[in-house]
Amino acid sequence: MSNAADVRSILDLPSSSTATPVPAPRKVSLASARKPDGISRELFSLIGPSSTTLVAQLAKPRLKQKPNLGAGSKIKWEWRQFKNSARTDSLQLGHWVKASTDPEAEYPFAKYNVQPATYTYSQEEYTKLLQDTEWTKEETDYLMNIVHEYDTRWYVIQDRYNFSGGPERSMEDLKDRYCSVCRKLIRNRPWTGDESSKAALMSSFSFDKDREVMRKKYVASLENRTPEQIAEEEALYIEIKRLEQNERRFKRERDDLLRTVAGIESGLPDIVEDEQQLNGLLLDAKRSKKKGGADLDSPSTPLLGASLTKRLPAKNTAYDLQHCITRTDLAPQSATTKAAHQPAYLRSFKLPFPKSSIAPKVTQALAELGVSTTRLVMPTQGNVALLEGLLDATASLVEMKKVVDKADYDIQVLKARLGMAGPANEAEGTADAMDVDDGNDADGDAEGEGDGEGEDGRAQSVVSTRSARSRKHTRRSMSISSVDTSATVSTRAGTKRQRRS
């Protein structure tokens, strides 16, 4: 609270001539003399009006403002008679409502009185469409009425169903009859909407009685299990879970092994996904693995296998013949070895692919024969076996022809070297030069290697890198290559020369 006089006195300026210095402080004291609420007079006189913050804090505390509910104005309620439009009579009940509501408004709960759609039929329709040897018209009428009355609550309908003189009806009988009547009526009546809505309505009345009866039987039998049966069932379930878990572990171990042996190029599918999904199980498996190698699982496996094979019914053979089903007998001990497990597969997937080097020739040969290998119309076991044999034969034919060609060529070259000295000299010279060139030229060598992959390079390195799928070929090509390894260098030189020239 400083005024012009204070400023002047601080700055040692002479007071202005216009204003007298005396009235100014008095004015100040008058203005600040008003004691604020919440502070005692004595204290105020001591500290003076300077400490504004203190004064602000000492403001008299006030109660919280009362909440103003209902937007200020009182709501008037009144007891009013109302009429329920869901009723057919003139009963008037009373209730408390806000006086502001419209007395003519419809009763808010009347809208929940939804009547289900019902199907009625004339005598003519009945005789034309709905005749049934099991049902009389009277009973059908009774059924339709009771279904409407209890709003298609079938349990209640079945409970209350009591048609005097009629046979005992199960719930499925009632449902079947009702649905069939409704279906027939919908189908044979003119339909104003579109076809899809009609179909939807029809499907809402579809009912498969036999299936329902079967299902009910299952439910009942599920309930009638003895405690021993339940216990056995649970034990079996746990057993299956454990077997599945074992299976996964075996697979994982095998893949791990293959990966460590063959490296990243082993071509195995990634199993990370599998790992995540079955984390808990695998952890469990790991734990048991840690405990010590042979666990309880392995001995139990053949037991189950045996019981499973035992369960296969013998009467299936006729059915199998008729439907061309072939069952491969799994030897019980085959399940015990870990790697021998075979998941389900398509037979045509097991067809061996010809080696990439001779593949085009094989397909060409087959095309000449008019056989398409890409898609079998009927991949039965027999057909697949035949095709496999054919592919096999073609591949070996092509290879054989190759070998024969090579041998022929070798013979020609050797003959030329031996016999005809004069004209062969030139040729020999070039061949020698090429040979030397070949030996130094790494590039050419690599090319040759790539070219003749099928025959030679394979013999040493393939075994580990190839998956089981092509092992057969490998063996075959090995035998072939072992035959002509002695001639390999010269042959290659020969072929190369041939190509380059």
Binding site: S90, L93, A110, D159, V219, E223
Partner: protein, 433 residues
């Protein structure tokens, strides 16, 4: 308003049970009036001429077989010279409507101070009620009470509603009847309804056990306190020392005496008896702490195994008992099994998952635990709804009626007086399914 679905039209709910008549406003959580169904009366003189002065009596305007009726708080429990006692219900069904209408009038007019002609009235009935009975009830309501609207609902359904369920297996143990009622979508499955007079058997067993002498003690005198002028404190198990009010003994009727003895037994049961949670086991029963109880005569004793033997009757009947009495009422597990067997196999799991335990007789200590143990033996997924609040347990039927009667969507179901005039008795069967 529409959101919670309630719309209260000041309907009254009356639930008539064997032990008490409950009446109150729909929408409340407890009945306003709870009066004993048993009433005291003086027989009207056989000579119709001498009954005339009674007709003039303003408290009892109607002529009838009762010269005077005593109901409510100061009714049958007050000793009166030559007063007989009667109960209009037999096996849960009303067999005598004259006192029933008097009882309802007493509850509505004298206790609740209501005018029945101003309120729609919802009355309950047991699931095994006869059509004639419910029509008679409707007649009383419309003709005598002049109600604007009336509805009669099933106690089983109402008990399910009180538990907030549309489908349930209601196990109701009352004073004289134990029933198991399957409810689906608010309808009773009548084929699955089973009931027996099991509580009566339990009561009789307890009565016999107390009154008959055994090696440990003499038979206990079950004199009501109204007949005892004074008594001395005695040691535990010592013979009681009391003097009877000889002036009253003469005027006491057999029916009143029997009724009060039954009350003494009931009180003993309520304060002492229990059920073993895991089936009968002598060691467990012996290991439970005994309880003390003192009878009005001053006789007091500890009750150990006996108190569990009483409750065991609800769940198990010994083979010799079964052999000696072929018409023995079925115990609770038998009732449940029979009820479920009559239901569709698909429904059983639903019902067992929605068991509602209700009725005053289910308030036996340990009843709920024992029931769940019994059910768990044969069903994997059992869920029992049993309110811990004894009021909800005892008046579950009334509470359900209170819920139903205050629903906005229910008001279209009332049988109005107009409809009653137009259609007559038929409408009751058509409307109240």
């Amino acid at each position: 308003m529409v959101n919670y679905g309630g719309d209260e039209v000041s309907a009254l709910v009356i639930d008539i049970g064997t032990s008490s008549v409950r009446a109150g406003y729909a929408g409340d959580d407890t009945p306003k009036a709870v009066i004993p169904t048993t009433f005291g009366y003086h027989k009207a003189p056989l000579d119709p001429d001498s009954a005339m002065p009674d007709v003039a009596d303003p408290t009892q305007p109607r002529p009838g077989k009762f010269a005077k009726m005593y109901m409510g708080q100061y009714g049958p429990s007050v000793w009166r010279d030559g007063m007989e006692v009667s109960n209009p219900l037999n096996e849960g069904l009303i067999h005598d409507f004259e006192p029933v209408s008097a009882l309802m009038r007493h509850a509505i007019v004298d206790v609740m101070r209501c005018n029945p002609s101003e309120h729609p009235i919802l009355v309950t009935e047991p699931a095994w009620n006869t059509p004639a009975n419910r029509e008679r009830m409707a007649e009383i309501m419309f003709e005598e009470f002049q109600v604007p609207a009336f509805y009669i609902a099933n106690t089983g359904v109402l008990n399910a509603f009180a538990a907030g369920k549309g489908s349930a297996l209601v196990i109701d143990v009352g004073q004289t009847m134990a029933s198991v009622t399957p409810i689906v979508d608010g309808f009773v499955l009548r084929k699955g309804l089973v009931y027996s007079t099991l509580p009566k058997l339990v009561h009789a067993h307890a009565h016999h056990m107390l009154a008959a002498p055994n090696p440990q003690r003499r038979g206990i005198d079950l004199y009501p306190h109204q007949l005892i002028s004074n008594k001395m404190p005695v040691e535990m198990g010592a013979p009681p020392r009391f003097t009877l009010r000889e002036d009253r003994v003469k005027g006491t009727t057999a029916s009143w005496r029997a009724w009060y003895e039954a009350r003494e037994v009931d009180e003993w049961i309520q304060s002492v008896a229990g059920v073993l949670e895991q089936g009968w086991n002598d060691q467990v029963a012996a290991s439970r702490p005994p309880r003390q109880y003192e009878f009005p005569t001053g006789y007091n004793s500890w009750f150990a195994q006996e108190r569990f033997l009483v409750g065991e009757q609800l769940f198990h009947h010994s083979s010799q008992m079964l052999a000696s009495n072929p018409t023995l009422p079925k115990h609770i597990p038998a009732l449940i099994t029979e009820s479920l067997r009559a239901c569709d196999p698909e429904l059983r799991q639903v019902l067992v998952g929605n068991v509602v335990l209700t009725g005053g007789g289910s308030l036996f200590a340990g009843f709920g635990d024992r029931l769940s143990a019994e059910l768990a033996r044969s069903f994997p997924h059992v869920k029992i709804h049993s309110p811990g609040n004894p009021v909800e347990r005892r008046y579950g039927g009334w509470l359900g009626g209170s819920v139903l009667g205050s629903l906005g969507t229910f008001h279209q179901l009332w049988i109005s007086k107009e409809e009653w005039m137009e259609h007559g008795k038929m409408i009751v069967g058509q409307r109240c399914k």
